[in-house]
Symmetry: C2
Subunit: 329 residues, 2 copies
């Protein structure tokens, strides 16, 4: 059978329209320089006749999670989870009523909690995150997310994600990018829900981790979570996590704090076209305004060096038409 | 513009033919029970009306490398690489002429090398695999592969891959699978060439690794390889490597030695349809026949337990029409 020429022309026309349609999206972004810098970069690296064309397999974009894809104020979501887990497990641990940092966690005494320092935090994490199988932990996370609500936004945490960033993830995937999360948060705390919420599958989530061991449990092989650190995927640990799991240098990186500095530095110092983007929390009305003096998601060096390094700084208040998605509740 | 009906029919016809054409391949496999077991499984999990249908995002297949995708006899390719590197680096290390295990490596004294045990092996690996940046190491591997030749097959190592397995990788990808390598070999020794040779990108290679550190070198940020083990991705380490990098349980696993036992066990003990496959090296004429008594790629427990566990055992001599691809030389 012969294919009529008009039909071929029609087919090619439809095909060439598809990317263009997708690129007209990002409706939650205002038409300002940040959006233009991002879309111009994507057009440069995806246009086959551009000198900066990057083949699809090299189009890797990495995103911090806390403060970049979802809200990290007034405390990291995983910290809220750990505190709730301490409460849930307290009946099995009567000694926690009079042992720090558990007593502080149970009493909501954040000053005492802070005073317990990094060692105290690690104790809380290990007591609530280790000892079970990986599948049990995944279930615990999913069950918690179903009922937990953000303390000020009063909605499920998975609806405290940034709508402009969700659009950006989708936009990049349509342009042939593989999108990865590279977070200081626990990889197992994110994997159960990132596919549904961000369209990012478990294998494209890089994060901090504790060690696991292959054991038999109840007549079945299982991976058991051990109370020992495997990787802290923060600061200089982020390029390490990227290297271990992705094995090649991404060409775009998105972060919001100085914990993302080395990731942006690593990504943008490679050869060829590169883009680093920092999300600056400037919107006290619709979210929280914070940077240099925040104890969560502190951003100082990044703001100072962004101009000379050519990193885009997204001003949430100016650049984002909408912050959160419409809630389901 | 209106699309003529014949043109639509033609388009749909071509589209529906594509998967069928792909599934008629595997020409290097004889029409025997092994091939039929594999293709029947793939049809079961990809047919949307099958009760065993698996959505594309869950279709993950993992492959051991040494002895499963390429030849591991008379010694692991990475060991040949390490020995060549000792020779290349010897002028900078005059002390190696009289220090074991280096002296044995330089003299090709395999008895003395074996006598140095695991500790000796580790010394060789660290001396040849650490100290440089990840990018420098990748270059060293690529340059070595360009000139090194397999001692008996007399061809580049990247042409000592198994043609039936390359076809199988492609067949699975056409059926919507993500194909991963999960090897005891070094992840950085594989990533530079697996995309070209197997169609498997760096991010889908899981392997043993040494630690890396983010440092400044020559005014640029770089990841430097440290002489310290990060993960031994062998035996019970394989499910751990899978969990860390992939984050969900694959549904198909291919191996050839008892080093793959736990991987097959982990993969095939999950819920839903699962398939484990062992490649049995039975072909003394076209390759090497070995199993229970081999010091490289020993296969004993796997052979004993395969029947009760329902694992397919591929008989290379019977099942494979062709072993290696046509060489480029």
């Amino acid at each position: 059978m012969k294919l009529a020429l008009p039909a071929i022309v029609f087919c090619l026309g439809v095909m060439s329209l598809l990317p263009a349609l997708a690129q007209e999206t990002l409706p939650a972004w205002n038409e300002k320089s940040s959006k233009r810098a991002i879309t111009a970069f994507v057009e440069r690296v995806t246009n086959p006749s551009s000198p900066d064309f990057v083949p699809p397999e090299e189009r890797i974009a990495v995103f911090d999670n806390d403060g970049t894809l979802w809200s990290e104020q007034p405390m990291y979501v995983q910290m809220a989870f750990a505190l709730d887990r301490v409460k849930a497990l307290a009946p099995q641990h009567p000694e926690w009523q009079r042992t720090q940092p558990f007593q502080a966690a149970l009493e909501g005494d954040f000053a005492a909690l802070a005073a317990s320092g990094e060692a105290g935090l690690m104790q809380l994490i290990m007591a609530t995150h280790a000892g079970m199988t990986t599948e049990e932990f995944s279930q615990i996370v999913q069950q918690w997310l179903e009922t937990a609500r953000h303390p000020t936004l009063q909605r499920p945490y998975t609806e405290c994600v940034y709508q402009p960033m969700r659009e950006l993830l989708e936009y990049l995937r349509t342009a042939g990018f593989k999108t990865y999360i590279v977070s200081g948060g626990g990889v197992e705390f994110m994997r159960p829900w990132t596919e549904k919420v961000y369209g990012i599958p478990p294998e494209q989530v890089v994060g901090s981790s504790i060690k696991v061991e292959y054991q038999w449990r109840d007549g079945q092989p299982a991976l058991v979570r051990l109370p020992a650190i495997n990787l802290i995927d923060d600061k200089a640990g982020k390029p390490v996590g990227i290297h271990q799991q992705i094995g090649r240098r991404p060409i775009m990186a998105f972060g919001n704090s100085d914990g993302d500095f080395e990731m942006l530095e690593y990504v943008t110092s490679g050869p060829g076209p590169r883009l680093g983007v920092l999300i600056h929390h400037t919107d006290a009305q619709r979210e929280v305004a914070y940077d240099r003096h925040s104890h969560v998601g502190r951003l100082d060096r990044g703001l100072v060096e962004a101009p000379t390094r050519g990193w885009v700084v997204v001003d949430m208040q100016q650049d984002w038409r909408q912050i959160f998605p419409v809630t389901s509740e």
